[in-house]
């Protein structure tokens, strides 16, 4: 696994504060387990990209089923969840969920309090880039993780740019370890 922290889209430079690299998938496992109120935000690429047999959305479903983490599907992505017979998902535009996550008074989808960890996957790279930038500067007590195959530097933690194979393997580990103790 290469460990160079370069944004996938070459000119999308961020910083000085940049995402820490997820060099081991266990980091994600630990972060999710440690979080009191995590949330998973899934964009439309999750049902399109990366490999023919496994899609990111399938990992999202497995993650949510294992941990009970609430899922927000942006744009029309909810239709893809429903196709896969997964219904415990909230439909909300990416900008709307971003905007709620910077509001310290927002009590979350269930009204039980603010989230402390937001995991992102499947948004257009540059859209996720600016939303993560918004969260980095304007949210309080929120950590963010980019689970995409590419380094997205405004997150708190992000994978480096990965091959499909490395990325799939990482996800298998994450989902499996989240299931265990």
């Amino acid at each position: 696994m290469s460990a160079k922290a370069e944004p996938w889209q070459t000119a999308e430079i961020a910083g000085p504060k940049k995402a820490l690299l997820i060099l081991k998938p266990e980091v994600v496992v630990a972060m999710v387990k440690r979080a009191k109120r995590p949330i998973l935000i899934v964009g439309h690429h999750a049902a399109e990209d990366y490999s023919d047999d496994v899609k990111m959305i399938d990992y999202a479903i497995r993650m949510s089923k294992t941990t009970g983490i609430p899922v927000v599907a942006t744009a029309h992505t909810i239709s893809e969840f429903i196709k896969r017979d997964f219904h415990s998902v909230t439909c909300m535009p990416a900008m709307d969920i971003g905007n709620r996550l910077v509001d310290p008074e927002w009590k979350g989808l269930d009204g039980k309090g603010p989230y402390d960890l937001a995991l992102f996957m499947g948004l257009p790279y540059y859209m996720e880039f600016v939303i993560l930038a918004g969260l980095k500067s304007f949210s309080t007590n929120l950590k963010t993780i980019s689970l995409d195959r590419f380094y997205n530097p405004h997150a708190t933690w992000s994978f480096p740019n990965l091959s499909v194979k490395d990325w799939n393997e990482s996800f298998e580990i994450i989902v499996n370890k989240l299931g265990g103790e």
């Binding site: 996938w8 889209q9 070459t10 000119a11 430079i13 961020a14 910083g15 000085p16 504060k17 964009g43 439309h44 942006t74 744009a75 029309h76 909810i78 239709s79 429903i82 196709k83 909230t90 439909c91 535009p93 990416a94 900008m95 709307d96 971003g98 905007n99 709620r100 910077v102 509001d103 927002w106 948004l123 257009p124 790279y125 540059y126 859209m127 600016v130 939303i131 930038a133 918004g134 980095k136 500067s137 304007f138």
Partner: protein, 783 residues
């Protein structure tokens, strides 16, 4: 040259002769008052005049900032890291910095339209005289300049009357720009208020430009049956010398057409255009044709189809000259704003310039006289075309395959591509002789050539794409209805009520540039979806071209299938970027002509009317420019929501409502003064849609207004629910916020919806006579 007139207004003058009241003196112009509507509260508003209105909008639609950059580098104190709660050396925080950059972008955009208008009007006054009458629709239009009347409180009748409004625009943009200097404004919301101000001023600048050119150059005057024109890559008859015009300011292109006409050469040469100059030259002459939107510049130039290029201003590629030289195409720059480093030949005898260009002594020239551009361009192209013999730099198939075999799949091209196109994979296929994946990429390509710049092997990748798609491109010819200009007063009278009541479910303005995430076809698809649903679809600029570029099984484009009238189910091309002012103008005229609200310098009331009653929404699917930002800002101040495509997220901030916060959605009932909850209508003022599906659902939803009658609301909800179910596969979960009483529920879905309402604990709400302005309350409690 002195442009300024001196106006002195004296409320009361005591002299030996007695007391004189309301004396107005003007030096340089006699003010003839021909408009009997009394002056409204806010003529020529300054930067803070409408601040209260702005703050009302900004309270409801709070900015959500998306820093595209964590640092500021605008002064030598910097760079300053503004991440989180840090402040820069000047004391500015991240929120203020983001809004400041938005203001800067909008100032650039507004300045561009206003400077465009200034050059245009100076030229037209010089050539046609300052007393040329303004006429944008003959007897069909009384309210000829709705934005100008609304903002300035003047009623322009002649070309020269526009100067006063233009002076005002220039003054306001200068003020707003000054606000972005270090150590000025400190509050993000005040920056935002100025964004709205400069957006309004931009709308005025656009109206001035289009009013002037439509009147004087004889463009279609509010004509729903404006002619169809040819559009497409293969539009030019390549047996003839071809002049390509690029840009936005039409006089030099008019010079070309006029010269061809005068010399009896019409039909002997082709004049084709890219971007808004193309729109405007087809409004001027039926012999001109359109190649396509802004993103097609490189593919056309490199294909060698243009024998001469004339650029004017705005949205021209900065490397036009470099690219043109590669294909031996001479370039004439014709605007002081875009000289391209070329020698100024304005005063040089034309024969000398022509021979220098023909003999390739110079790669191009600058000529700042539109008529002379016409002469030099035509005479040059006639001689250059046979010499050039369509010289092109698009490689041969074998060359593409050979390069593809040398590609190292390093990914640099893909990582440079704004649309993350899988170029390395396509190169891999090309190495084996399959060019189809490269051709597919061309469909979603915005023509930026960042892939070329990034490739360590210096492969001209964009040219590879063009080669791969060449056959298809050459075949492409479509029909587009040329820009009709304004909307007629009579059309407004007919649709005013159905729009305000909601029977026509909405007006969708599909506008803006071609920075699309997946090519222009999505725009055509969205346009047709809403035309079929009997919304009014209005369009302009590059989006109007993209709408033309899809054909049905019978070979018809949307412009051939749908009417150009401002009516339910129409697809209405108003024209170029500056014609966007007619879209705002239509909304303003609904308030004025249909609802009889006073127009003159009465901005706040008209905006309040539009925001609460006119279900209009803008979609700029491929917005890229600063002009697009200022155009959007002009709509925001009128309370009209705007959606941008995913690249629009880079505009750095959205204006988002929160439907979950009940307290944000109260209005006054103008009948009683009661505060009434009306639901999130419209939910946002500015947002990004991630996919075309999301854009469609959002459009339907953002057309909801507090004033909808129950019948109208039921119609709007039908479209919203129907699209949501079809594209998202589920019912929307917020219908209860939009149902005020059971009559709002669409009949066909009654059972399902009533059950849903019950589950949500829904309660009936009042339908008020909605306003955000306490001063419009007619009767207060206890009165």
């Amino acid at each position: 040259m002195t442009r300024k007139r001196v106006n002195i207004k004296i409320k009361e003058l005591k002299s030996d002769l007695g007391v004189i009241r309301d004396l107005e003196l003007a030096f340089g112009k006699v003010i003839e008052e021909k408009w009997d509507e009394p002056m409204g509260p806010t003529p020529f508003p300054g930067m803070t005049t409408l601040r209260d209105w702005d703050m009302k909008l900004l309270q409801r639609y709070k900015p959500f900032y998306l820093p595209f950059c964590d640092v500021c580098c605008l002064c030598t104190f910097g760079k300053c890291d503004l991440t989180g709660d840090k402040r820069g050396a000047c004391g500015l925080n991240m929120a203020a910095q983001q809004s400041r950059i938005v203001l800067l972008a909008c100032c650039i955009g507004a300045a561009t339209h206003i400077a465009h208008a200034r050059h245009l009007i100076e030229h037209l006054m010089e050539k046609y005289g300052p007393n040329s009458p303004l006429d944008v629709g003959g007897l069909n239009i009384d309210v000829e300049a709705p934005v100008t009347r609304l903002v300035c409180g003047i009623k322009p009748e002649k070309l020269r009357d526009l100067e006063e409004a233009l002076d005002y625009c220039e003054e306001q943009v200068t003020h707003c720009l000054s606000v972005t200097h270090t150590g000025q404004e400190g509050s993000n919301l005040d920056f935002e208020s100025k964004v709205l101000h400069v957006g309004m001023v931009d709308q005025l600048g656009m109206e001035i430009a289009d009013l002037a050119q439509t009147s004087v150059l004889g463009f279609p005057k509010a004509d729903p049956e404006a002619p169809l024109t040819d559009l497409g890559f293969g539009v030019a008859d390549i047996s003839k010398p071809t002049i390509l015009v690029i840009g936005h300011n039409v006089p030099s292109s008019v010079g070309i057409i006029d010269y061809l006409t005068d010399k009896g050469l019409l039909g002997k040469a082709e004049v084709v255009g890219i971007c808004c100059t193309a729109h405007d030259i087809t409004r001027y002459s039926s012999m001109a044709k359109i190649v396509g939107p802004i993103s097609w510049q490189l593919r056309y130039i490199r294909s060698g189809l243009a024998d001469l290029i004339v650029v004017d201003e705005q949205c021209i590629r900065a490397d036009t000259l470099v690219e043109a030289q590669k294909v031996k195409t001479p370039v004439i720059a014709s605007s002081p704003k875009s000289c391209l480093g070329l020698e100024n030949r304005t005063e040089t005898p034309s024969e000398k310039t022509i021979s220098d260009l023909v003999e390739e002594k110079v790669p191009g020239v600058l000529i700042l006289d539109p008529d002379k551009v016409g002469e030099v361009a035509v005479e040059t192209v006639m001689k250059v075309a046979p010499k050039r013999n369509r010289f092109k730099i698009i490689p041969k198939i074998e060359e593409v395959i050979k390069a593809a075999q040398e590609c190292t799949e390093c990914n640099e091209c893909r990582r440079a591509c704004p649309n993350d196109q899988p170029i390395p994979e396509a190169m891999k296929a090309a190495a084996k002789g399959d060019l189809n994946p490269l051709a597919e990429i061309l469909e979603s390509c915005v023509g930026c050539a960042r892939c070329d710049s990034a490739c360590p092997n210096d492969f001209p990748i964009h040219s590879f794409l063009v080669k791969a798609g060449e056959k298809q491109l050459a075949k492409e010819k479509f029909k587009m209805r040329v820009g009709r200009g304004a909307i007629q007063d009579v059309e407004i009278r007919e649709v005013g009520q159905p729009i305000v009541f909601g029977d026509i479910p909405g007006v969708v303005a599909i506008v803006g540039c071609a920075n699309y995430p997946h090519g222009g076809k999505e725009v055509a698809e969205i346009a047709e979806e809403f035309a079929k649903r009997r919304f009014i679809v209005v369009t302009s600029g590059c989006a109007a071209m993209s709408i033309a570029m899809v054909k049905d099984e019978e070979g018809k484009t949307l412009y051939e299938k749908y009417l150009g009238a401002f009516d339910a189910g129409g697809i209405v091309n108003v024209g170029s970027c500056v014609s966007n002012s007619h879209i705002a103008g239509a909304a303003i005229k609904i308030a004025n002509i249909f609802a009889k609200r006073k127009l003159r310098a009465n901005y706040e009331e008209i905006a309040d009317y539009i925001h609460n009653r006119v279900g209009a929404v803008g979609l700029a699917w491929g917005a890229y420019s600063q002009k697009a930002a200022s155009i959007a800002a002009g709509f925001w101040r009128l309370g009209i929501p705007v959606i941008v495509g995913p690249h629009g997220a880079k505009y750095r901030r959205m204006l988002l409502g929160r439907k979950d916060r009940e307290k944000d959605w109260y209005v006054y009932d103008a009948r009683t003064g009661d505060k009434v909850y009306v639901g999130p209508a419209p939910e946002h003022l500015f947002t990004t849609a991630e996919t075309k599906e999301e854009a469609m659902v959002l459009i339907a939803k953002l057309c909801v207004r507090p004033n909808d009658t129950s019948k109208g609301r039921a119609i709007k909800l039908t479209h919203y629910i129907d699209l949501h179910k079809r594209l998202y596969g589920v019912m929307p979960d917020d219908i209860h916020l939009y149902v005020r009483n059971k009559n709002d529920v669409p009949i066909t879905m009654k059972n399902e919806l009533l059950k849903m309402l019950e589950e949500k604990g829904w309660k009936e709400m009042k339908i008020p006579d909605p306003t955000l302005l306490p001063r419009l309350i007619r009767k207060r409690k206890g009165e």
